[in-house]
């Protein structure tokens, strides 16, 4: 047994323990803290699975953004009254047994791989040079399975619309209900002044490097979103109202450009979402940049929630 495999076992035990704790804990707050820790542990697992792209995404979104959202919710839910009684023991017992069975079935499935393990990795690598990209994951996202990526951006927009649509009617066009702690010269302000420039550089780098190495629009967008949220929470910039035209434009710019290039591909290349030979890389980079911005804004606004204040005249 190598050191690494001992490390892996320890990691798995830790992940399961923290996961179980965050499910079983009575206090919602500690459960969420547990979940954030869990997210970070999980990104280590992703590194161990040689999926650095995923590790970055998981750390940024799975742990970071989701954790932040949940913490905010816990803070508000403290005032909820009349919470439900716990599920009765027999039900929990039955659920436990059934969940174990399902998990066991899944484990059997995972433990019985085919004799020859099929893979698309060679095919993906073989065709990668055509796109000028170096990162095969980006190749899948923007070349081979670009349709999924494009539509997933539409999903993001829809989710945001869904969140917005929860606003009371009179708040429509108002400002998302992000809590702003505008205390001058607090640590938060300092942090909010210090971090964003660094963050933006990191984001730009991630987006740029994503073409060749792990990183890309999602990760870059997440960092951007986090920085933007920080600045807004600290009160350094105002939270924009959702009816701002520039905001909406930013939100759809990424998928729009992607879509436009895709349609252009029908004319200039030979298919929808195909890139004309030789122009693949610049086009993909353009799409990535636009997507990074759109994703950043979308994630930030998703975290900020539905409009809760009317815009001051």
């Amino acid at each position: 047994m190598t050191i690494l495999s001992i490390f892996d076992i320890g990691l798995v035990v830790l992940i399961l323990a923290v996961g179980a704790a965050s499910i079983g804990m009575r206090e919602a707050f500690s459960a969420v803290i547990g979940f954030v820790v869990y997210g970070l542990l999980l990104s280590i697992a992703w590194v161990r699975l040689s999926a650095v792209d995923v590790a970055l995404t998981e750390a940024a979104i799975g742990g970071g953004m989701t954790g932040m959202l949940m913490l905010g919710a816990v803070a508000r839910l403290r005032f909820a009254k009349g919470n439900d009684s716990r599920t009765s023991l027999p039900v929990r017992l039955a659920a436990g047994i059934l969940c174990a069975l399902v998990a066991a079935g899944l484990a059997i499935a995972v433990l019985s791989p085919p004799e020859v393990i099929p893979t698309l990795a060679p095919m993906a690598m073989e065709n990668l040079p055509q796109s000028g990209l170096g990162n095969p994951v980006a190749g899948v996202l923007f070349v081979y399975r670009a349709l999924d990526t494009l539509l997933e951006k539409v999903v993001l927009i829809l989710a945001l619309l869904g969140v917005w649509s929860l606003a009371p009617d009179r708040m429509w066009g108002g400002i998302p209900g992000l809590r702003v702690y505008a205390q001058p010269n607090s640590k938060l302000t300092f942090l909010a002044q210090l971090l964003p420039p660094v963050g933006i550089v990191v984001a730009v780098y991630m987006c740029w490097v994503g073409a060749k190495e792990p990183g890309g629009a999602f990760q870059g967008g997440t960092v951007l979103a986090a920085m933007w949220l920080l600045v807004m929470i600290a009160g350094l910039t105002s939270v924009p109202s959702i009816s701002q035209r520039w905001l909406r434009l930013l939100l759809v710019a990424g998928p729009m450009i992607f879509l436009a290039i895709g349609i252009a591909g029908m004319v200039l290349a030979n298919a929808f979402l195909a890139y004309p030979a030789g122009y693949a890389k610049p086009l993909i980079v353009a799409v990535e940049v636009a997507l990074t911005l759109s994703i950043g804004v979308a994630l930030g606004l998703l975290a900020a929630g539905p409009p809760e204040r009317v815009q001051r005249p």
């Binding site: 039900v91 659920a95 059934l98 399902v102 079935g105």
Partner: protein, 543 residues
């Protein structure tokens, strides 16, 4: 040939077109006065179109076929006569009454369905038109919107749709038996005797048509519906509409093949119904209810004819049953119309009005020289000299008794105002129907293949018809003497038991609803999701 096809099609296309025209309110308002004209193309088709001509609409692979066969033509013709008269009666009846629109729409729906069923030659078309007929008839039953009308309508449509469910299953089974793609009723009936599913199909067909024909124990809708429906509607429902199921039996059941077991069962059920209707009918106190129970009895008798045919494999049963049914169409229609006419007539004018009613009523019992005697005579040939014939005679005695009872109640419903006279718009259609009911059976008799039947005018035959009538009359005298000690049976008799069933169903329904609301709880739903996952996993892994 084209002319014939057009004529055949116009029989149901004209009423259907009138139904569609009802979408325009202006036309709808004028429609009551046009009701009598709607069935005229059907009558014309019967008179002018050669038997066995047909036409189809649709694509080569799937089409609806319409055709004119002998029993169908016979029933369609007399039904059209009744529809014309009842339509004329209805146009008068509707004056100064609310909800013209609904009545007219339901009337035309029923008419389209009724005419169509008599012409439909394939199962899908038959089923469709039967459904249309049911929906329209239900609308007619509930026209008055009283609580009892609603109840009658609910019972009627419930039972009718149940019957149609049986029929649908039977049709699907038949369709699978027919070689090739045909859906023709003719092919279905031909395939039935040799089918491996024969007994199941026969059971389904008899249950389905039996329910719709009011065969005991499914007869309870008849008293409810016929007493609730408006007079002209009751006339067509009891006269024409209910014959659709008789025609169904004639067409679908393999009458040319001897199936003794089934034949005996059907004949026994029919004869039992024939007596049962009389026995319960005698206890009723409203003329409509007496007529309704008489319908139960008469339909039972017709079904018995069909059963006897199956017993012996005698194909003539089809025509005999149709002939008897045709007579019943007109008589029952005329009698129901008379209920409305007498109710509007005062004591001064009562006798001239009551007399025609009396003649055709007693004719139903087999009074010599009436259509009724003729119908019974034709049927008698099939029944032979067996027990069935005895029962038939008993039923004739009973029917006479029942009809006299009807006349007695009818007379008591006359208008309080001695000077009152029924409107001519009501009287003439009624008198016409009564007259036709006496004449048409003789005309039709000429179409029945001659030779095998003895002369209906011989003294022996006349006496055979007369003595049950006389006996019935005598019994009626006796009955009236002890009238007060008769038990009162609620209308629809065994439907009281149905109410108990409804209560049980409600209890079950509530239990299901409680189960549902438990299953919709989050833990229950997610646990069932897990159970399903495990179960499906096990099912596919274990195969």
């Amino acid at each position: 040939m084209i002319g014939q096809t057009t004529l055949l099609a116009s029989a149901f296309v004209v009423p259907f077109g009138m139904l569609l025209l009802c979408l325009w309110p202006q036309i709808l308002n004028r429609m009551p006065s046009l009701l009598a004209f709607a069935p005229i193309p059907a009558l014309a088709a019967v008179l002018l179109v050669a038997t066995d001509s047909s036409f189809a609409i649709g694509s080569a692979r799937f089409h609806l076929t319409f055709a004119m066969d002998r029993p169908g033509a016979m029933l369609l013709g007399v039904s059209a006569l009744l529809w014309i008269a009842a339509g004329a009666y209805a146009s008068q009846y509707l004056q100064n009454r609310p909800n013209h629109g609904r009545f007219v729409v339901c009337w035309l729906m029923t008419l389209t369905g009724c005419v169509g069923v008599f012409l439909a030659a394939d199962m899908v078309g038959f089923y469709f038109l039967l459904a249309l007929l049911t929906l329209g008839a239900c609308g007619l039953v509930i026209y008055h919107e009283t609580p009892s009308a609603w109840r009658a309508g609910a019972v009627y449509i419930g039972l009718a749709l149940l019957a149609e469910a049986f029929l649908l299953m039977a049709f699907v089974l038949l369709a699978s038996e027919i070689p090739g793609n045909s859906l023709l009723i003719r092919d279905a009936a031909a395939a039935l005797p040799t089918s491996p599913q024969r007994d199941l199909i026969l059971a389904l067909l008899i249950a389905g048509f039996g329910m719709k024909a009011g065969l005991v124990p499914f007869h309870f809708w008849m008293p409810l519906a016929y007493s609730a429906a408006p007079t002209p509607a009751a006339a067509v429902l009891s006269g024409a509409v209910v014959k659709a199921s008789i025609l169904g039996m004639i067409r679908f059941l393999p009458l040319g093949t001897a199936l003794p077991d089934w034949g005996t069962a059907i004949a026994a059920a029919g004869l039992f119904a024939a007596l049962y209707g009389v026995v319960i009918g005698i206890t009723q106190r409203s003329p409509r209810l007496v007529l309704a129970y008489s319908s139960v009895s008469q339909m039972g008798f017709i079904i018995a004819i069909i059963g006897m045919g199956m017993l012996t494999g005698d194909g003539r049963a089809a025509l005999a049953a149709a002939f008897y049914a045709a007579h019943h169409v007109l008589v029952k229609g005329a009698l129901f119309l008379s209920v409305g006419v007498i109710a509007a007539t005062g004591s001064r004018r009562l006798w001239p009005m009551l007399l025609p009613a009396a003649i055709i009523a007693v004719g139903l019992g087999g009074l010599p020289l009436t259509g009724g005697a003729l119908a019974k005579f034709v049927a008698d040939e099939l029944l032979g000299d067996s027990t069935a014939s005895t029962i038939a005679t008993l039923s004739a005695i009973g029917t006479t008794l029942l009809m006299l009872q009807f006349l007695r109640h009818l007379a008591s419903t006359a208008s309080q105002d001695p000077q009152a006279t029924a409107n001519a718009g009501l009287v003439w259609p009624w008198l016409a129907t009564a007259a036709v009911s006496l004449v048409v059976p003789w005309t039709l008799y000429l179409t029945v293949p001659r030779g095998t039947l003895p002369d209906p005018l011989s003294a022996a035959v006349l006496w055979k018809a007369l003595w049950p009538v006389l006996l019935g009359g005598a019994l009626a005298m006796a009955l009236w003497r002890w009238w007060r000690s008769m038990p009162q049976i609620p209308k629809g008799d065994i439907i009281v038991a149905l109410d108990g069933g409804v209560r049980a169903a409600v209890t079950w329904g509530k239990a299901l609803q409680r189960t549902d609301s438990v299953l919709r709880q989050w833990p229950a739903a997610t646990v069932s999701l897990l159970i399903l996952t495990v179960a499906l996993g096990a099912a596919v892994l274990a195969r």
